[in-house]
Symmetry: C2
Subunit: 244 residues, 2 copies
């Protein structure tokens, strides 16, 4: 098999956050696959076929990419952020699991700047101590498990990053999550809403849990909750390196 | 104040993983500060003063950087990986807290590829579902808190990334962590040791907790523990996107 398959992270939005190894892979590609707005970030050129597809078609996309690479293509699946954080890398390996004939295919996962770290950098350093990273969508797991994880993470006094805080299908989930967090973390805990990070539309807002409302998050928002030590310094918010 | 201060992530080691915005900031800098091996990654040039310093001097380094920027310097503090993950960003804000006169200073935190995400990419997608990121060093927190967090994270069935698994000062800590994890996660749970990620010396090894030994980690290793669903597919290890 002479083809190869790369899953590449495009970072949160800014061109200046795309790593040179991702840029190099895209320059060699014959085929680029991905969710429509991510493929739209790749410049068309002769010899390159773009294959944009809809959200929630991750497995089909992964199967398609495997087939193209097995046929000799130089194939890049693009993800926003980092491909290993709630993105296409896991979907690819799920598809590969059904194709033992392709276990020898050349596959590389190229990391990218994931949204929570770009958001943390824009806000200061709210993830500067132990933290967890939770997907608040209940598309692929039961809502009860999300609540269990929130309670245990709060008991561990971890800072938290939330991906997909509000899904179109179940907008009430994030309201329930905020209620739960206010109950277990108290009203004064700091929470940062980071929207469209690293793009011209970037908005960063830090409030207390008492002041947080579900409408502060949308599909383009990553949410960062501080731990018990997280505080403001000047215009910034940060979590100290030490814990009592 | 005409100076500025940037805290920049150099990524885990490969030049091709340094973002263009970090490269651009380094090209404009008059002063670069950081831990000796990280400053050694910055090429000397006319007009640039390099200020390497020892580990565990983070606060002194941050204060020095603030003073240089306040005096008009274009100052970059370099971190390995991402500056917001167990690195210099929190130390900077801790130093800034004592200098309200400098709250108006231009400060930017530039994210980088953090070790756990480069390691996950090299191994497959072991962090492809909810996960936590814990610093196993007890330099800045009590060991009992580390054990509490390990137990709660296991109860939440989170995948886990461990930074600083073994400290020179307390090499027995990681052995205790492995014993605890074997007890609460069982012997078959997959664990990945990723050493010198993205450098020519990179070594990636995935074993079961039953087969894991403390000596598999050293100061250059980041450790990734799977959740209950994590499995092998061909030469890779991945965590499915869904949870039961």
């Amino acid at each position: 098999m002479s083809g190869w398959l790369v899953v590449a992270g495009l970072g949160p939005g800014a061109e200046a956050m795309i790593t040179p190894e991702v840029t190099a892979a895209l320059a060699q590609a014959t085929d680029v696959l991905g969710y429509i707005p991510y493929v739209a970030r790749v410049a068309p050129r002769a010899g390159l076929t773009l294959h944009p597809s809809d959200n929630r078609e991750e497995l089909d996309r992964a199967q398609h990419a495997l087939a193209l690479a097995a046929a000799g293509g130089r194939v890049v699946i693009v993800s926003s952020g980092d491909p290993g954080v709630f993105a296409m890398a896991s979907a690819l390996f799920e598809a590969l699991e059904a194709r033992p004939d392709l276990y020898g295919l050349e596959i590389r996962i190229l990391p990218g700047i994931t949204a929570m770290l770009a958001a943390a950098a824009a806000a200061g350093a709210p993830l500067g101590h132990d933290f967890c990273c939770l997907n608040l969508s209940d598309n692929l797991k039961p809502w009860a498990l999300i609540e269990t994880r929130l309670r245990l993470a709060a008991a561990a006094d971890l800072a938290m990053a939330f991906y997909n805080p509000r899904s179109r299908a179940r907008p009430e989930g994030f309201a329930r999550a905020l209620d739960l967090l206010r109950e277990v973390c108290g009203p004064d805990r700091l929470i940062t809403f980071a929207r469209a990070v690293s793009t011209p539309a970037q908005e960063i807002r830090t409030v207390t849990l008492a002041a947080a409302t579900p409408g502060m998050a949308d599909m383009r928002t990553v949410v960062l909750l501080g731990n018990s030590q997280t505080r403001r310094v000047g215009p910034w918010v940060y979590t100290p390196r030490s814990a009592p």
